[in-house]
Subunit: 295 residues, 2 copies
């Protein structure tokens, strides 16, 4: 807990970011630096990452950047929600020391000629429905790591595939940053926190509760001996009962390799298994997941 | 100049490398760190990079690693020359403080799932004849940068395309390392220094002098108004006079974009132009180049 609420400085350029970080690093009592990369429109999930970083590091940097390279041509880049005032308030409350809010031209003065791509972990789940998405994630995370040079970076398990991709990339490239996975934060209703929840109509939101309600039952189904195929079918059937639900995928994969689990394999006997779903309600695509065995 | 010749420590594991670097960084008088990445079998070209680094930094790391990912299946990975004792002696003489000589399994404990690839700069010249080569260069340089976290890294202009690729990657990814280009070092005969020169028979070596002899005349041809096509033809004709010469490419490209120069464009009026050649003598593929206008 922080005794006083300090207002984090907002910087918009790389030069200012470096000036602030140099200042911090030059201080006699400089500690470690934590980074929480976000696309803004912060919710309690982001706040939990910031609080964790503030508790583990001497200095916490929040980045807020809606990264165009991770959006497909038909996706919601243009209408992605933004609220700088609220982001600053959440960041202050959660203990961020510095907010880096660059423009697109500050991050990409020219279209990069460099691509960072991963095989394996990117092939199923959201990678299959969002071609190029994880290339966009990989490049922006690499840039942010190089710009901030944090000791630790915090990512939510809600985006489990993103976390697996970043962890794999960090391992492959000897990235000198500890990747810290953080648990999914849910609304009281069970709905996983997401900036995109703001798009949902009341009716869509109510039907979307099927995701958390169904995933919550997965551990008992697995414990009762359900194999991968049965598990996926049960989840699919439960979701399909909601008339507004349009399923993109329901998958059961090994974690963190994200290799598909064989249909006949019992989930309870397969090491760590990620059961993950992506479902559209109206125009809004939601993702949610559960990791077995539960911690 | 160094007053005394200190023998650089050799480390073979990442853990030892980090221990030595942490030790240096923790010292009260710690200065900047320079990195000279090589594949070993050091010659005077490498020594010039080490001397430059030693003169500009408080601590110089030499890496010696024959990176399998930058060799094609039909290339000379297995017979690439190695001589650890000589490398240690050259490194000591040239002022290296630490030599990092990892095994292949230390650098690649598993086959990486991550690829770093570039468009544009990798498409012509050696990129066209050596598919995947620059992906291999990009990943190993990224890994070495992440492992050593140098302030500066030194690369020779002999591998002009490699330098252009690394510079572009560093810019695209905000890599926090200053990339320092260093001039080509030649034997007294004019032959550009290369670890691969050891493969040449006396006859091949003698005929290979045509490369430097011809490239040396390029500035006068350009000054006399030769356009790109004429320049390339003159260079090609001169090289073809040597019966053992088997030309891979003779190119004139803009630098550092490496975009092909239009045939009709006068080289002297085109900003910076790289005239680059790759030629086989027997089994040995040599490269050489000249950058216009000359410094």
């Amino acid at each position: 807990m922080r005794a006083t609420l300090s207002v984090p400085t907002v910087v918009r350029t790389i030069a200012e970011l470096h000036a602030r970080l140099d200042e911090y690093r030059a201080a006699a009592a400089a500690g470690t630096i934590g980074l929480v990369p976000t696309m803004g429109y912060l919710h309690e999930g982001h706040a939990s990452l910031l609080r964790r970083s503030a508790s583990e590091n001497g200095f916490t940097v929040l980045s807020v950047f809606v990264n165009p390279l991770q959006f497909g041509p038909t996706e919601d880049l243009d209408r992605y929600p933004r609220d700088e005032e609220r982001d600053r308030a959440v960041a202050a409350e959660a203990g961020a020391d510095l907010i880096f809010m660059p423009s697109v031209s500050e991050m990409y003065p020219k279209r990069p000629l460099t691509t960072i791509s991963l095989t394996g972990v990117t092939e199923g789940l959201c990678g299959a429905s969002r071609p190029g998405h994880f290339d966009g994630v990989a490049i922006v995370v690499t840039k942010l790591f190089n710009l901030v040079r944090p000791d630790r970076a915090y990512f939510g398990l809600k985006d489990a595939q993103q976390l697996a991709v970043i962890t794999q990339m960090a391992e492959d490239l000897n990235v000198p940053v500890e990747i810290v996975p953080c648990p999914i934060v849910r609304e009281e209703s069970g709905l996983a926190m997401s900036s995109r929840n703001v798009y949902l109509s009341p009716e869509e939101k109510s039907q979307a509760l099927v995701l958390s309600r169904t995933l919550k039952r997965v551990p008992e189904w697995a414990a009762a001996g359900a194999n991968a195929k049965e598990l996926k079918e049960r989840v699919r059937q439960a979701i399909e009962e909601q008339p507004l639900a349009d399923i993109d995928y329901v998958e059961a994969v090994e974690y963190p390799s994200l290799a598909p689990l064989e249909d006949e394999k019992e989930a309870a006997k397969a090491g760590r298994v990620l059961v993950a779903v992506a479902v559209r309600f109206g125009k809004t695509r939601l993702i949610d997941n559960i990791l077995l065995p539960q911690a």
